[in-house]
């Protein structure tokens, strides 16, 4: 049984991943999804963007900010496919929390399923934080889930975390399988009332 943990704060150094509409094909190119486990996904994170034409690492932020825990992204991050491979790869690379202008919905839900807080802030606030990380690669950033804030240097950003995500994280109930598993008899009752479900 997976034991849930309450996630009220995450923190560490940051990595800016600038750009709007970064889709899951960029985060995790489909050709690397041909594995039956998520174990190696960190190796494929932003695979194409991180390499130059000879396959050598370029100066992509993920190469420059190795060891970071907080990813700072712009708007509509994670759009495109439903692949959980994308947030899985980020998590396995080391990301514990994401700050962004906005997130695609499936991506945000996937983050919740993995216990990764995703907090939104304005374009100005996010850009300022991205610049700050460039200047302060060892600077600590903290996401407070309860207060919905991002703190770095002397700055506190009043952000926004989706209600369901916030509640799930701080109450340690983000594992939805566990939440729903005990309701099986109710599920059967709901199902049996549906005209298209044949009686078992």
């Amino acid at each position: 049984m997976a034991d849930d943990i309450e996630i009220s704060e995450v923190g560490g150094t940051g990595v800016p991943i600038p750009g709007d509409d970064i889709d899951t094909d960029q985060i995790l190119p489909a050709r690397f999804m041909k594995e039956v486990t998520f174990d190696n996904m960190a190796d494929y994170l932003f695979y194409d963007a991180r390499r130059d034409d000879d396959g050598e690492f370029n100066d992509h932020p993920l190469n420059r900010f190795d060891g970071a825990s907080i990813a700072v992204v712009n708007s509509n991050f994670g759009c495109g496919s439903s692949r959980e491979h994308a947030p899985q790869a980020m998590m396995r690379w080391g990301v514990d929390g994401v700050v962004g202008e906005s997130f695609a919905e499936i991506f945000r839900d996937n983050c919740k399923s993995l216990g990764i807080p995703a907090i939104t802030a304005s374009h100005e606030e996010v850009s300022a934080l991205q610049e700050w990380i460039e200047d302060n690669p060892d600077g600590e950033i903290e996401i407070d889930v309860e207060a919905e804030t991002v703190t770095y240097g002397d700055t506190v950003i009043e952000g926004n975390i989706d209600d369901a995500m916030k509640e799930a994280l701080i109450d340690g109930i983000w594992d939805t399988t566990q939440l729903m598993y005990s309701n099986l008899s109710k599920v059967e009752e709901t199902a049996s009332k549906l005209p298209y479900v044949e009686e078992a």
């Binding site: 041909k34 439903s82 939805t176």
Partner: protein
């Protein structure tokens, strides 16, 4: 909040309870499984010692990684990773008593093509699949949601997902489609007007005369691309077109049982006086064939419109996206897409890989030849589609024109098998995503369009307006007698 819409009614009927995190626990009536997103979920299930709660409501097939040539499909598959994924799926369905439409079944294909044609997708259902294009099934008046792997585990283990209700936006599309203009053009128009993230927080209910006139293939194409417009789901209220299509399909009951189900289907239609959170109107009258010029499906124009300059966009994000697109696609603002050189023509996918799509493209190809510099692939969305096309001789038109006639799968939609763009090739594609790298090459360029337009581009070797280049009578995109692929 919306009231009296199909979405409200179907949600209510499938709601099990409210969860302590504020979400609703929603029963899933149809769970579709494929090889790419499920193995990790089965693994998690096993780790917890859970069993599949509703194996009889779970159906699997293989689509993303399968080769599309007969030699390529011999087992073990050439690509060891693909073989491992397929074997893992076979093992998982076997152990859990799940019906599997495998390579040998004659029914294998893209989940979103297979489930509708077998009559698995029905009105008033909730449908989930570890794939973002699950919205496709909304064409029947169901709620189809794409889910991540942890949620697949949820559905396997509990038959449910945890979800919040979204707002409902009615997208009212009125008018009549001209010759050579199709459902694909309607949905691209909708995305052009509402934006790629216009649907965030919403499900789209499509209606209006232009939608009502569409056959099921057209409706499936529209609902399929809801996700490209940012909507989590999209649906169309069921009507006689829907019921006619369902009649006689393998998983649809007959006789009295059918009539009983039909009563349910009628009951979940949105009420005449339903309240929507939002209503938008789109005029389909006189729209021209749509083509994308950029690197997301919202960067789309009518074939005779100029490619926009970045300055024309108000939002900073749109301006930056336009700059990036112009550079990647190598366009100059002010040009139209007509005459843009094409290296590859790709016809297929869960958007446009159905019998009707091939039939329409075949009328354009009849008696013509694919440009010698174009590599042209026709990949049926399912083996049933392939066999039906072959039964009608449509495959011959493709082969004689110089298309490769393949077996069913996702193929070059996302290039997880051997079908891939090379270098900076330009692909005229009937698929749904033109993201950078999507078709297997990071410099590859995708131009989304309708199947008729793909066929015309294949022949001319460049993007053309299908309406100008052929004098044959073009088939219309609207309702005609359905033929069941069997």
């Amino acid at each position: 909040m919306s009231q009296g819409t199909l979405y409200d009614k179907v949600w209510e009927k499938h709601k099990v309870t409210e969860l302590p995190n504020g979400q609703d626990q929603l029963f899933i009536g149809l769970h579709l499984v494929h090889e790419v997103t499920s193995p990790q979920a089965f693994h998690m299930l096993e780790e917890r010692g859970h069993e599949v709660a509703f194996p009889e409501r779970t159906f699997a097939t293989t689509d993303h990684i399968v080769p599309t040539t007969p030699e390529g499909r011999e087992r073990p598959l050439n690509d060891p990773e693909a073989e491992e994924m397929l074997s893992a799926l076979e093992e998982n369905v076997d152990e859990n008593g799940i019906t599997f439409f495998g390579l040998e079944s004659g029914k294998q294909g893209i989940t979103h093509v297979v489930a509708p044609e077998l009559g698995l997708s029905q009105p008033g259902m909730t449908v989930a699949c570890g794939d973002s294009h699950t919205a496709t099934h909304g064409a029947f008046g169901s709620i189809g949601v794409g889910i991540g792997t942890s949620q697949i585990r949820d559905v396997l283990s509990t038959g449910c997902i945890a979800a919040e209700k979204q707002n409902v936006r009615r997208v009212e599309v009125n008018g009549e489609l001209g010759e050579g203009v199709y459902a694909k053009d309607i949905i691209l128009k909708i995305i052009q007007e509402l934006g790629v993230d216009g649907g965030v927080g919403h499900v789209y209910e499509y209606g209006g005369s232009a939608v009502r006139d569409l056959d099921m293939e057209g409706r499936l194409a529209i609902c399929n691309m809801s996700i490209e417009g940012g909507a989590r789901a999209g649906y169309i209220n069921p009507d006689e077109t829907t019921y006619e299509y369902l009649k006689g399909r393998e998983y649809v009951p007959e006789g009295e049982e059918f009539e009983e189900l039909k009563q349910y289907w009628e009951s979940i239609r949105s009420d005449e006086d339903a309240e929507y959170d939002d209503v938008v109107e789109i005029d389909a009258d006189g729209i021209a064939p749509m083509v994308t010029w950029g690197i997301n499906p919202g960067q789309v124009i009518e074939i005779d419109d100029p490619i926009p300059a970045p300055e024309e966009f108000e939002a900073r994000t749109d301006r930056e996206a336009a700059e990036k697109a112009l550079e990647h696609m190598d366009h100059s603002p002010g040009d139209t897409m007509e005459g843009y050189d094409v290296d590859v023509a790709f016809l297929g996918t869960c958007t446009n890989g159905r019998v009707k799509d091939f039939e329409v493209a075949a009328t354009v190809l009849e008696g013509r030849q694919v440009d010698p510099d174009v590599r042209a692939l026709a990949v049926p969305g399912s083996e049933s589609v392939r066999k039906e096309c072959e039964r009608r001789g449509i495959d011959q038109t493709f082969i004689e024109a110089g298309f490769q006639w393949r077996q069913a799968g996702c193929s070059m939609c996302l290039a997880m098998n051997d079908d891939s763009l090379e270098g900076d090739e330009v692909c005229a594609s009937s698929s749904n995503r033109n993201f950078i790298g999507r078709q297997g090459s990071k410099d590859g360029r995708t131009v989304l369009m309708s199947p008729a337009m793909v066929a015309a581009a294949a022949v001319e070797g460049e993007v053309v307006d299908v309406r100008d280049h052929f004098d044959t009578e073009l088939p219309s995109g609207t309702n005609r007698a359905e033929e069941v692929a069997d």
